[in-house]
């Protein structure tokens, strides 16, 4: 998990597990929905950076205790995957728990935040990187890493298997943890049966938004043709309003997500040999209950060359001409009863709208995070871009782009020169 390059940077790593405080009723089982299984090769990685006061004076047991209380309400997270006779995976809620890592960093938090501006891949050392497999029955789906910096600050690294839920559910889990730390009792109804759409649509071919991977067997990660690299940049409030005004066409206002995505779509088209004519858009549903995979998935097809298009036309496409893909994705899974392996993020260039995500509501003993970063592991070769809220005091957005490593430098340059985004 911690490579020799980072040895010394992150050190003193200790592994243990945290489970629910009370025993669960026996024989409880959770059946993931078709949409859940479509996302099983993706892993959400979130890092919340906290200042010194949040964790001051706390021992490891103090940090673990609220988790024991919280996990009583999350039997699904504490369970482990098994395969039914048909081969369809399900979760046995057996109280196994989440993996808990403790680590130390030899840099102060400010030094670290400077370092990741240049090299966002370093953040992978702050989250645990274990995938589900090769033994799915003994692989935790959620892992937490608490890294203490030299200055006393702490980062909370979350590794969340996307099969459990989208980024909104992951955020909800940690926000509830904050509430338990404050002494409130989480009151969450336990849902064990996910709802699936009804019938199998006749003989459809795979939707544009997915790509068949593998078969990966019990090693739930996709193999990329080129090594993927993450880089992130922030767009502060001033830059954002400037961008939005530049892109807005007559009487149509575009949201920050649409504006930023349109810009990046064009930049990527410029640096790639074959333009990405089809992109996937993921965004939050209106009635988001933050439990499970409830994002709206759609594709946008451009009929003309992207490079010469006006970004506002692209933004317009994204806003109004997206074709909903949810049912088709679920169908693709239903066809062989959940045994097949698909990827969604990275099947085409994917843009994920996490604007509304409540990342900054994770309150630990009265302290909010100074910075939150989210990325996804297991993104396909076409790449993915995530638009998250930035730190509230800046008012802007944070953009995390995961692309093949040879495209990263060019894209950075393109963004800097064309759009003054650093």
């Amino acid at each position: 998990m911690v490579s020799s390059m980072a040895e010394g940077l992150i050190y003193d790593v200790k592994l243990s597990s945290v489970g629910p405080g009370n025993a669960i009723e026996p024989d409880m089982v959770h059946e993931p929905s078709d949409m859940d299984l479509a996302m099983k090769l993706h892993y959400l990685k979130g890092i919340y950076y906290f200042g010194k006061q949040a964790f001051e004076g706390l021992t490891t047991i103090n940090i673990k205790e609220p988790l024991f209380i919280l996990l009583n309400d999350f039997p699904v997270i504490c369970g482990r995957f098994r395969r039914a006779e048909s081969g369809r995976p399900y979760i046995k809620c057996n109280d196994c728990g989440v993996r808990f890592l403790e680590a130390k960093c030899e840099k102060t938090m400010d030094e670290w935040l400077e370092m990741i501006k240049e090299n966002a891949s370093l953040e992978k050392y702050l989250t645990p990187n274990q995938i589900i497999g090769p033994e799915i029955a003994f692989s935790p789906t959620v892992l937490l890493q608490y890294t203490k910096f030299k200055c006393g600050g702490m980062s909370v690294g979350l590794s969340w298997a996307h099969v459990l839920g989208d980024a909104f559910s992951a955020a909800e889990f940690l926000n509830l943890l904050g509430k338990v730390v404050a002494g409130e009792k989480p009151n969450r109804p336990i849902k064990t049966k996910s709802t699936n759409s009804e019938s199998l649509l006749k003989d459809m071919e795979d939707p544009l938004s997915v790509k068949r991977a593998g078969p990966v067997g019990d090693n739930w990660i996709t193999v990329n043709n080129s090594k993927m690299e993450a880089f992130s940049f922030s767009v502060n409030a001033a830059q954002l309003s400037h961008l939005q005004s530049k892109i807005s066409s007559n009487a149509t206002d575009f949201s920050p997500f649409e504006a930023i995505s349109a810009v990046i779509w064009q930049c990527v088209a410029k640096i790639r040999e074959s333009e990405p004519k089809v992109v996937t858009i993921c965004k939050m549903m209106e009635q988001n209950k933050a439990d499970g995979n409830n994002q709206l998935m759609s594709v946008v097809k451009a009929a003309y060359p992207i490079v010469e298009a006006n970004p506002s036309e692209l933004a317009e496409l994204m806003k109004n001409s997206a074709f909903d893909q949810r049912e088709k994705i679920e169908n693709a899974i239903k066809k062989d009863n959940g045994v097949s392996d698909l990827i969604v993020y990275g099947a085409n260039l994917t843009f994920v709208n996490l604007e509304e995500a409540k990342f900054y509501e994770f309150d630990y003993r009265g302290e909010k995070p100074v910075y939150v970063s989210y990325r996804v592991d297991g993104v396909g070769d076409e790449g993915a871009v995530f638009v998250l809220p930035g730190p509230p005091k800046n008012g802007g957005m944070t953009v995390m782009a995961i692309l093949p490593e040879n495209e990263v430098t060019e894209l950075k340059l393109e963004l800097k020169t064309e759009w003054f985004m650093d």
């Binding site: 243990s16 009370n22 003994f138």
Partner: protein
């Protein structure tokens, strides 16, 4: 149908015959005394008062003889009361309840096992099979150092565990009994596998600032039966020191003893031993006669160490890779059975009613003289005791004793449920079991309790207590929050 009826009526007849026999033999002295008294009274009445006076005068007893006789009687009475052993009372006891953060579920235990022993999957499978049949539940607790992958058993962690377990138990006991720490005259701590310097008893003296003339003892290496050995020692000390309080702490520290190797016979303790501890306050003060919970009646200790097989059956040693662990031999159950027989032979005459002893004697003589093929008579200990606390060493031990002593499932319920909820907590398990019986509201004044513990050596120790006052529910103790869920049915094999 007709065939069943004669059997039924003959068995009923047999039952009444047996009851009648028991009543007769148990109260034989009463039955002999009453006719004699009646006979004498009748004789006296027939003689009349004048005749009585004439007989008295003819005896010609003068004042000196009367005085000497009375002095003799007073002397004999005084000698008798002085040489009578002091009664030892158990004022109260407290068991350690681990916090939820130490909980280990089966699945977590197995997953960690798999990660720790990743080169030895056969041993991992073996552990899984043990766990499935162990009789443990999903709420047993291990200390924090053992939760790490791999476990980090440092001396500091072991001391930390010892402090937490022992101090919580003692604090809880002090609160329950209301005594002050400066009143403690005798301190005995027993912990088999962790014996630091300064000793754990010195640790207690230091923490609670006990008196400088305290009589402190630290028993280590004596296995799971050390709890009753401490009771025995406390009892003997309380005979030598009048008007004293003795604090006994029984525990087992898990941290330093987690076996890190993969030898199968040595993996068993990892699966069964869990955190636990108890603190017990004993007293010989007359003012505790009324508030004490129990009175100690007998302690019987049996040591089979002179037999080599018994000596080696629970043996701490290094495995082929130099990792230290406790090796449990395959004849453990057989040896335990023999040790139990020895213990029963000694304790039987002390506790069994006369009817059972007579039957046993007759069968014994019969087997020796007449016919060795006669079935040996197993005395019915259910007549001597209302409650049984069998050390929760493992499911096999409880099953074996239930069979040997012909106990019903209600009698062994306390042991089985303690094994399920707390695991094998070694010397303190007897106290969790006693606490279970109290929490269920089954302990009434006059009830007799038999605590049996087995331990390395090989030893079998028993203690007999008599309940001094009915214990009211709800009790505060380790079962407070979960007693309503018990008893649970423990399946033969739990599917993991």
């Amino acid at each position: 149908m007709p065939q069943a009826l004669p059997n039924f009526s003959s068995s009923v007849k047999l039952k009444y015959v047996k009851l009648g026999y028991q009543y007769l033999v148990d109260h034989i002295l009463t039955f002999l005394l009453i006719p004699t008294m009646v006979g004498i009274s009748v004789q006296i009445i027939l003689l009349g008062p004048e005749e009585m006076l004439k007989i008295w005068r003819s005896l010609d007893i003068d004042l000196v003889q009367i005085l000497c006789s009375s002095f003799l009687i007073i002397l004999i009475c005084t000698l008798y009361f002085m040489s009578k052993p002091r009664s030892v009372y158990l004022v109260d006891y407290a068991c350690y309840k681990p916090p939820i953060t130490y909980r280990v579920s089966f699945s977590t235990f197995m997953e960690h096992s798999r990660l720790n022993l990743k080169d030895n999957l056969k041993s991992v499978d073996f552990q899984m099979r043990i766990l499935e049949r162990s009789g443990l539940g999903e709420e047993t607790c291990l200390p924090p150092a053992i939760h790490y992958i791999p476990p980090t058993p440092t001396m500091e962690a072991a001391r930390g565990e010892a402090e937490e377990v022992i101090f919580s138990a003692i604090d809880s006991l002090m609160q329950k009994t209301g005594i002050k720490v400066k009143d403690i005259d005798i301190l005995i701590v027993n912990c088999s596998l962790f014996s630091p310097t300064p000793s754990l008893s010195a640790m207690v003296v230091n923490k609670y600032k006990l008196r400088s003339n305290i009589k402190s003892y630290n028993l280590s290496g004596m296995g799971c039966s050390a709890g009753l050995i401490s009771m025995d020692l406390a009892r003997d000390l309380l005979q030598a020191h009048p008007n004293s309080y003795a604090l006994v702490v029984s525990t087992e520290i898990i941290t330093p003893n987690y076996y890190k190797g993969s030898e199968r016979a040595m993996l068993l303790p990892n699966c069964l031993f869990r955190m636990g501890g108890a603190a017990i306050l004993l007293s010989n003060k007359s003012r505790d006669k009324h508030r004490a919970k129990y009175r100690l009646v007998h302690v019987v200790r049996t040591h089979k160490g002179s037999d080599d097989k018994a000596y080696k059956c629970v043996y701490e040693q290094e495995d082929s890779q130099g990792k230290v662990g406790i090796n449990l031999s395959k004849d453990l159950m057989v040896i335990a059975g023999e040790a139990l027989k020895s213990n029963i032979t000694t304790i039987g005459p002390l506790v069994l009613p006369a009817s059972e002893q007579l039957l046993f004697l007759i069968t014994l003589i019969g087997r020796k003289i007449f016919n060795p093929k006669w079935k040996p008579y197993i005395p019915d200990f259910k007549q001597a005791f209302e409650h049984f606390c069998i050390h929760a060493g493992g499911r096999a031990v409880i099953d074996e004793l239930q069979k040997n002593l012909q106990l019903s499932s209600e009698h062994v319920e306390a042991s089985r449920m303690t094994l399920h909820r707390f695991g094998n907590t070694s010397s303190s398990s007897l106290w969790y079991e006693l606490s279970y019986i109290e929490a269920k509201g089954r302990m009434k004044k006059g009830d007799r309790v038999w605590q049996i513990a087995f331990g390395s050596g090989f030893k079998c120790n028993s203690a007999v207590w008599k309940c001094n006052r009915t214990i009211k529910t709800p009790t505060d103790g380790p079962w407070q929050d979960c007693i309503d869920r018990y008893p649970v049915h423990i399946p033969e094999i739990v599917k993991l």
